[in-house]
């Protein structure tokens, strides 16, 4: 399987590339990035080929590509990749508008390439245990979920203090599609749709700009209530409320209250706390399984077998619809029907 990465705008590109390089059945064709400095930097870091244009990488006829650009640029890159006959794993959120997300799904259908949305939480070992428990009927009816996917301000997400590594597009409404709502609703929206096997029917959202208020213009705090077909409800805290000096980037956790009892899941709890003189502050060191690697394995298997991946483009589209409804709710102050 020959795979390329289109853009290193999203920090997940680094972990995807690391995981791909560790897979013996994968050949990394290379990386392309419209930010030449950044592209060369990561090509050097990982010892892979850098292409100065996306077209140049696609001309190498990769079997598949991973799109890790700014959210608003997913659509043109997916369109190019699909036209070049490459299967696509697209970073979340699939797009910044419902229209773009739909176009992404359609263009992949049109060119007969597989499309997977990068929702690695479906491959998180603790998250999978909850799915198993629910699927076995062990919880009975699900009543409600109290969930969090909080993080630090994403522009802090950079390993080294190099200007071209700045991820400030995350707080640019035009490129990211918004702030905390656009960034952190989709993982839980997707996970909960999958858990419940139901669609969201109604969305209520409230947001504010208190955190990092002087620094960014997009919303940084957000609480969202999703209501599902069965009446089950889920509150999602998508705030960028973790300080820059927090021991880790953030987290994703949920508590499910069900007929059969209570289940709590913290997907990023498999850590130990490290106090190092050199760091000057505590750090969580992760020792759990790599959800990204599980997701990439599924993508590669689906491409190899030319079958629909476990997480589809339609799943990505549904999540984008939920985010759009959340923004509509913030605007109107009312709950918004979906679907």
């Amino acid at each position: 399987m020959r795979i390329g990465i289109l853009s290193f705008a999203h920090l997940h590109a680094e972990s995807y590339l690391g995981a791909l390089l560790a897979m013996p059945d994968v050949t990394v064709v290379g990386i392309a990035d419209d930010n030449a400095e950044r592209g060369r930097y990561f090509a050097g870091q990982f010892g892979v080929t850098w292409f100065e244009s996306y077209a140049a990488l696609l001309a190498e006829k990769p079997d598949a590509v991973i799109v890790c650009s700014e959210n608003a640029n997913h659509r043109p890159l997916v369109e190019m990749a699909a036209a070049a006959g490459a299967h696509v794993l697209c970073e979340k959120p699939l797009a910044t508008t419902v229209e773009d997300a739909r176009a992404i799904v359609e263009v992949c259908q049109q060119y007969g390439v597989q499309l997977m949305t990068a929702f690695p939480m479906r491959f998180s070992s603790p998250a999978l245990e909850v799915k198993k428990l629910m699927a076995s009927g062990g919880l009975g009816r699900i009543y409600g979920v109290n969930a969090t996917n909080q993080g630090a301000l994403p522009e802090f997400h950079q390993a080294e203090n190099l200007p071209f590594l700045k991820r400030d597009w995350f707080v640019d409404k035009a490129l990211a599609g918004g702030g905390a709502l656009a960034d952190h609703i989709v993982h839980l929206a997707d996970l909960l749709r999958w858990y419940l096997g139901e669609e969201v029917t109604e969305v209520y959202a409230a947001s504010n700009t208190i955190l990092h208020g002087g620094r960014v213009s997009v919303e940084t705090g957000g609480l969202v209530m999703l209501t599902f077909e069965s009446g089950a409800f889920a509150s999602v805290d998508c705030s960028w409320s973790k300080p820059a000096y927090y021991p880790t980037w953030g987290g994703l956790a949920l508590e499910v209250v069900a007929e059969g009892g209570l289940v709590t899941m913290d997907a990023f709890k498999q850590v130990m706390t490290v106090y190092s003189h050199s760091a000057g502050r505590p750090r969580y060191a992760w020792w759990g399984s790599d959800a990204n690697a599980g997701m990439l394995r599924e993508f590669i298997a689906a491409c190899g077998e030319n079958r629909t991946p476990a997480v589809t483009g339609a799943d990505g589209l549904r999540a984008v619809e939920i985010v759009a409804a959340a923004y509509e709710s913030v605007e109107s102050g009312d709950a918004v029907r979906v679907g």
Partner: protein, 334 residues
Amino acid sequence: MLKVGLVGSGFMGSTHAAGWAQTPAQFVGICSADTARAGKLAAQYGTQVYNSYEALLDAVDVVDICTPTHLHHEMTLQAARAGKHVICEKPLARTPAQGREMIAACEAADVKLLVAQVVRFFPEYAAAKGIVERGEIGKVAVVRLTRCAYQPKLAADNWFLDPAKSGGMMLDLMCHDFDYARWIAGDVDSVYARSVRSADPTAPEDYSIAILRHTSGALSNVEGAWAYPPPMFRTALEIAGDAGLIEHPAGSSTPLGIHLKAKAGGDAPDVGLPASPLAEDPYTTQLKHFYNILTGAETTPRVTAQDGLAAVQIAHAAMESARSGRPVRLSEVQ
């Protein structure tokens, strides 16, 4: 010396009886519909049983009302008419209208009305309030509060499960965190809530999440349950500000791990309580503070009757939102 009378001998009545014993107050007597239980408490704390509320009121300076919620209103009005100060268990009243009448009656009679929103006296909640007040985490942005337990058990007359009497979980339990959210982030503009009646479709809501929009722009996520499997009881708090973050997840500060082998016939207590040993329990801290307010030794109550009323209003807005499916403004439940 301040003469105190207690009405009610249930879980909170007995908790307060123990608290009063730790104050300089003269614990004059107990009045309760359950005279046997009242007799036991009276014997334990060296006080006497009064067979009528009127007789108890005659004998005291302050009455501590620990009866089911729907009785708070009438008992407070009676005390005010008798010119006695009132300490009232939370929630202040079954409805906002009753709460307002209680406040007006006590003001007219020039007696104090203190509401036992005891969470403000729990040291971890008080400590978090202090951290916020000192500006350590800056302007409050997002507050997360959880208070989840199992269905309250009572051998007879389980008034908790009768919405007409208790208002249900969203009033009885969530009023703690509605009050605390307001203490931390200020007045509330609107509430959006979802809830479920998991135990019985005719019983009150027993699991709910409410999203509060505060006037300050802050948001609160308040979760409450009587739907946990017994004997689980969890509370959690998190306050994110523009200059910092306070995290206190459920169970994170439990100092003891006591895992004894089960004894035959063992069962959970009637109402779940968090287990964190302290030199002084928060109910006693609260009653000592109220004692000082009543004697004038302290002048500013940590929680006012208006605060208690606001918590009842937020709970009613949340219940109305859960019922109607739309966000409810506080002005709609005045």
